[in-house]
Amino acid sequence: MFAPEPLTEFPHCRLCASAQKQEIALLYNAAYLLIPMESEGEFHAPGIGEFLGLPALFFADTPFEINRIILVRLLAIALMLFLFWFALRKPTRVPGRNQSIAELALGFVQVQIADQILGKDLGRRYLPLLAGLFFGILAMNITGVVPFLNISGTSIIAMPLVLGLVAYVVFIYAGIKALGPGKFFKNSLFPAGVPWPIYILLAPIEFINIFIVRPLSLALRLLLNMMVGHLLLVLCFSATNFFFFTAGGWAGLFGVGTLAFGFIFTFVEFAVYILQAYIFTLLTAVYVQQAVAEEH
């Protein structure tokens, strides 16, 4: 079955869109005529359409438009908040079962990330932020393998970008608060221990690295891990569907293979979701630590 993808307009090129629209439409029609129509038996590989241009579910055509991914985000965050509230609503000195699970989870962030990277004092101060980042990202990631939700809340750029911005603001704030603005920027841009002519080369590189690449790389790493994971799963399961129901016959044997792969990848993705939440939080902690260090 051949059908061209619907012509999606991205908001940033709305100005130029009208001029190009006709041309694109012509091209689409031309391509449509050149490729022979097949009613059955063509496999559609998943693409960017899994993430962008999703139909609106609520509040269409308003700034508060909610599509599938945003609904998943809201659900995940609401569930996470509810679970923590439920577990810690009546804290006692000797924790019950729910409370000790919540304390174990928070203890992981405290021991493995905050204390280990930032030390006791700073770790205590930045623990709420790190725990918030970790569990927020974890909740939104984990929806990628939850049946019926099946997509990560962090798999379009907006959410990772916001989270990256949070980390960016926090490590600059931490540095300025600990050292004062002058010393912080001097430490960052002119690291000690190199002969001065090197600074001509080093300062711009450090500027790009610390103030541009860091937040962007945080955001991109999270986004692309989620996106690629989702595409892999979609590929495995849509191939299974294709082999079983469209291709039929002996091709069903391939379907068994792709189904098994999809099953294995589901577990791999589960591990990746936890790991990415951990790495995002860990890197934020490392950046804060480097910003407040006297000399590095």
Binding site: Q116, S217, L220, L224, L275, I279, L282
Partner: protein, 76 residues
């Protein structure tokens, strides 16, 4: 005279590009993980800290592979 087409390849060259982009990070992650195992075998008491550093190293290395994926979506 009409040119005779003996063979043609369809599809997107970006797939080859991603294959090339995955070589470097693949080697890099192998080195990071291998060296961590080596170090943990020498000093098992440092295993926790070494693992944290390993994940940091992997995170930086694997970013290159993911930029390879992003390029496909940005430029195609």
């Amino acid at each position: 005279m009409e040119p005779t087409i003996l063979a043609e390849i369809t599809g997107n060259i970006a797939t080859v590009g991603y294959g090339l982009a995955a070589i470097g990070p693949g080697i890099g992650i192998g080195i990071v993980a291998g060296k961590t195992v080596e170090a943990m075998a020498r000093q098992p008491e440092l295993a926790g800290r070494l693992q944290v550093t390993m994940f940091l190293g992997i995170a930086f290395t694997e970013l290159l592979a993911f930029i390879g994926v992003a390029v496909f979506f940005i430029f195609v």
